[in-house]
Symmetry: C2
Subunit: 202 residues, 2 copies
Amino acid sequence: MTTRTAGRPYHHGSLPETLVAHAVELLDEAGPDAVVVREVARRAGVSPSAPFRHFPDRAALLAAVAEAVAVDFGALQLAAVEAADALPFRALGKAFVHYALAHPHRFALLRDTVFTPARTPALEEGHRLFTEAITGVIIAGQQRGELRGADPDLVRIAAQALVYGLSQMFVDGYLDPTRADTLINDVIDLFGLGVLAPGSRL
Amino acid sequence: MTTRTAGRPYHHGSLPETLVAHAVELLDEAGPDAVVVREVARRAGVSPSAPFRHFPDRAALLAAVAEAVAVDFGALQLAAVEAADALPFRALGKAFVHYALAHPHRFALLRDTVFTPARTPALEEGHRLFTEAITGVIIAGQQRGELRGADPDLVRIAAQALVYGLSQMFVDGYLDPTRADTLINDVIDLFGLGVLAPGSRL
DNA sequence: ACATCCATGTGATCGCTGATTACATATGGG
DNA sequence: CCCATATGTAATCAGCGATCACATGGATGT
């Protein structure tokens, strides 16, 4: 006799989604290493081997988690840039950093998963959307004459590196998260103006 | 009777160092997760429990590895900035990115360890040296009039975020490593000049 | 020179994990 | 109605981190 209650039939019905949800829970609590198949199964109320019916191995489960997180993250990024009536560059950067600070473990998982050789179409697509969003902001800015005419790809890469690095430094505890907004503003200002004195080289 | 040969006495003599060396080997081969205590012991030719005589747990061994790596990394950074007769900013950035590309797993370990609450004095010191190095470069540049008079701390943070983010993007496979040098040059140029058109905001 | 202390290494063992296998159950198509 | 199949379970395996009692031998004091 099993311990299953009347509420849950023998066949769960939506076990994969439930497993991913509990895995995200574990991820948020204690990082990627804490996403332990057996614990996920325990929280879902199924046997330790049940998850392997739906995911070939632990890595596949983590990949599904990464996909779910990437979708969530991408949606927030898009919402942020759409909600920004002005200064979309700043809005994008802040949304990025704020997400990383709110969900540091998700940030780590995405960092380690998104660029994996075995990345799935969904991850690829999410990433493409994000890159296009920031590229669009840059090109629009250049067309309005707010940006110098530098190579948009180069500007995008620099901007991504800046916000990416900043996020990581906040998450790592190297920078004080309570100063996030002002610091982002200042760094973006600096990036806009440059640090070079006329006639010099770095 | 044990299988130990004449070469190695019962008491190893320098087991901690040997263990760390093999751990670095494993780290370089397959990342932090591959630093498995038992495998380290195997490679050192000792019993599975021997490492625990010198490190209270696996995390402590990894911390020792991180210290060793941090020393190595810091030395290379200092050498790079000293060897650079001109454009020290560029030299520092390239040295950073090149180290990350040459040893991606060490880069990951440092990222996850250096800012840990339980970081050791050695790590702290290594990090302080690095921060001071880049701050020195910035202040010297400002004194020679090559840099605008912006807050040196802000410039340093932005520069660190830029080179840090760029390194991560290379390591993650998002940017083509073979273009590293030109891309670093271009991004640093861009950072120096800024992207803002006169009279605009980002 | 000798006895002894104790740092260092060993072997056995524990609980936990990822993964595989044979078996149980229920659902939906013929 | 019946059974093929998808989905869940139980039992089991090897590998892992960690602990403990025990073995060994180098260093120390007299």
